[in-house]
Amino acid sequence: MSTLRNFAILLAGTVFLWLLSGLVPRMVGPYPQQMLNLVGINIVLAVSLNLINGYTGQFSIGHLGFAAVGGYASATFVKYFAPVTWTGPLSLFVSLLIGGAVAGACGLLVGLPTLRLRGDYLAIATLGFGEIIRVVFLNIDEVPVGGRTIDLGGARGFTGIPHLSDFFWIWWWALLTCLVILNIVYSSPGRAFKSIREDELAAEVMGVNTTYYKVAAFVIGSFFAGVAGGLYAHEFVILHPTRFNFINSFDIVLMVVFGGMGSTTGAIFGAAFITILPEFLRDVSAFIGTRLGRPELDLRLVIYSLMLIVLMLVRPQGLMGSREITAWFHRKPKPPLEKEGMA
C-alpha cells in the first residue's frame, strides 16, 4: 500500500460518509441517529483501546478517564476560547485535536510510572486514574483563567456546549482512527507492539525498546480516547462526570474482548454490538416479561450477562480472535506441517 492508496481510501471514505450523512436523516428517526453516532464514538474508543489491550497486551480499564479529559478540554476550548469567526467544523476539528493532545499528555503522565506494572496491577492503576479524573471533574466547579471564569459545572455537569458533532464528523473520525491504528499495527512498530504482548523479555532481547513502545501505545490510545470524548461532548452537549465512571469504562473493555483482542474489525463489531444490544434487549425483555405474566420485570442485564457468559464459554478468544475480517476473503489452504517420523 502506498501513500496515494492510503489517501484514496480516506478520500473515498469521506465522500461515502458525506453521501450517507445526507441519506441517514431521511431514513431513520432522531433516536436511531443518535445511536448510530454513539456507535461511531464507541468505535473510536474501542479501536484505540485495542491498541493498548489487544495489540500491546497491556490491560487498561480506565479508557474513559482519558475520554473525560479530552471531552472537557475540547468543550472548554469551543465554549471559551475558540474565535467567534470560526465555523462549526473548524472549531470542532481544532477542539478535537486539543482534546486528543491533552488526553495524550495525560496518557504519557500516567503511562510512564504505571507501565512498569504488569497485568492486574496495571489494570488497578488505570482504574484508579479513571476514578480520580471522575472525582476531579465532579468537584471542580469554576476555574478562574486570566480574568475570566470557566465553569466546568462540577456535579451539575458541563452544560452549554455547542452541538457541533454530527453523523459525518463522528464517523469520519471513526474511519480515521481505524486507518491510523491499522497502518500502525501493520508496520514494524506494530510488530514491536505485538512482540511485547507475546513475550516482553524476548522482545527486549530482540532489540525492541519495550518501555518506549508501551508508553507509545498508551499515548496514541489516549489521544483517540480524548478525540472520542470531544466528539461525545459536542454530540450530547452536556458532559457529566458519572458518564465516565468505572462501569461505563468497562463497557469499552468489553467491546474489545467481545470483538477479539488484537483485531480491529473485531473492535468495530464489538463497539457496534455492545452499543446496540441493550436497545435490542429492551424488546426481548418485554417479550419474556409478558410471557411470564410479569411485564414490569427488566431482564435486560440478566440476558446481557448470560449472553456474555455464553460467548466467553463458546468463544473465549472473542468474535474475531486476533484475525481481521480480510482473512475470510483470502483464505488459503494451510500447508501441512511436516511431522517427523510419520513415514
Binding site: 500500500m1 491510523v180 500502525i184 513475550d199 532481547v205 532489540g207 506441517l337 511431522k339
Partner: protein
C-alpha cells in the same frame, strides 16, 4: 582485541552469590563452551552478558566498550544476540513476523511514516520482508513463513529461535542449551549447524550445554562453573582430565577408612 571481555563479574541475589568473579576473554571467531552442574550460575552469567541482568560488580566490555548500565535492547543493538534455555518465541505470531521483529530496531522509518504509508515505509518494508525470507531460507524454514510459531515442531522452534537471534545481525551469539531435548543424532546435526552458522555469519559463539559430545566436538575452549565459581578453563582435552571438573560432576571418591 577480544570481542568480549568480562572481568571480575559478580552477581549476588541477597545473600546468595550466583556468580563470583567471572572472567572471560573471547577472541573473534571462537566457539566457547560454558558448562557446569545445574545451578552453577551459567544462565545468570548469560543474563549478565546479554544485558538482561546488571552485575553487582565487575565490568563487561564488548568490542572494547563497556556494556554495563546499558538497557537490554541497547546491548542487542550493539551486536550481542541470545537464545533462551526454554524457547521464547513470539508464539502467536507467524514465523516471518518473529524474524521481522528482530530487525525492528533497524527498520529505518518512523511511526508517522508508517501511518502515512510514506515511500520510505513501502521501500523498507519490502527490504525487511526480503531479508527475513532470505534468512529463513538459509535455515530451511522459508516454507513455514506463514505458520504460527507455536505450531512448529520442537526442533524447528529451536532453529527458528537461532534464526530470529541472527536477524538482529549480531557479532556475538549466546546460545543457552541449544541441544536441550535433542537425541544424539539431532545433537550431531546441531553441531554441524552451529559451525555452518558461525562461518556463514562470521560469528563468535558462546554456548551453555549439557550434552558433552556437543561441547567437546565444537568448542575450542571451555569454562567450567560450579557454585558460581570458575573452577576450570581450557581446551576440551584439558577439561576432560581435570580432577576438579570430574569432582564437580561426579562427586569425590570416598576414601576407604
Amino acid at each position: 582485541m577480544p570481542i568480549l571481555e568480562a572481568s571480575g563479574v559478580t552477581r549476588r541475589f541477597g545473600g546468595l552469590t550466583a556468580v563470583n568473579d567471572f572472567n572471560i576473554s573471547i577472541e573473534p571467531g571462537e566457539v566457547i563452551g560454558l558448562i557446569g552442574p545445574n545451578g552453577a550460575g551459567k544462565t545468570t552469567a548469560f543474563n549478565m552478558l546479554s544485558g538482561v541482568l546488571p552485575p553487582s560488580e565487575g565490568d563487561i566490555r564488548f568490542e572494547g566498550k563497556s556494556i554495563i548500565g546499558l538497557k537490554t535492547h541497547k546491548v542487542t543493538q550493539r551486536g550481542i544476540a541470545r537464545t533462551f534455555q526454554n524457547i521464547r518465541l513470539f508464539a502467536d505470531l507467524t514465523v516471518l513476523d518473529n524474524v521481522k521483529i528482530a530487525s525492528h530496531f533497524r527498520c529505518g522509518y518512523t511511526m508517522a511514516e508508517a501511518v502515512l504509508r510514506a515511500p520510505r515505509f513501502v521501500r523498507r518494508e519490502a527490504e525487511i520482508e526480503r531479508n527475513a525470507i532470505d534468512l529463513l531460507g538459509i535455515f530451511g524454514l522459508a516454507h513455514l513463513k506463514d505458520e504460527v510459531a507455536r505450531n512448529l515442531p520442537y526442533g524447528e522452534q529451536r532453529r527458528m529461535e537461532i534464526a530470529r537471534a541472527l536477524a538482529t545481525s549480531p557479532r556475538l551469539l549466546l546460545l543457552d542449551e541449544p541441544a536441550a531435548g535433542m537425541n544424539p543424532q539431532e545433537s550431531l546435526e546441531l553441531v554441524e549447524f552451529i559451525r555452518f552458522v558461525r562461518d556463514k555469519f562470521d560469528l563468535t559463539v558462546l554456548l551453555i550445554e549439557h550434552h558433552m559430545d556437543v561441547v567437546m566436538s565444537i568448542c575450542q575452549r571451555i569454562l567450567v562453573l560450579d557454585y558460581g565459581v570458575t573452577i576450570s578453563k581450557g581446551t576440551p582435552k584439558e577439561i576432560q582430565s581435570d580432577p576438579r571438573v570430574i569432582e564437580a560432576y561426579l562427586g569425590k571418591e570416598v576414601e576407604d577408612g
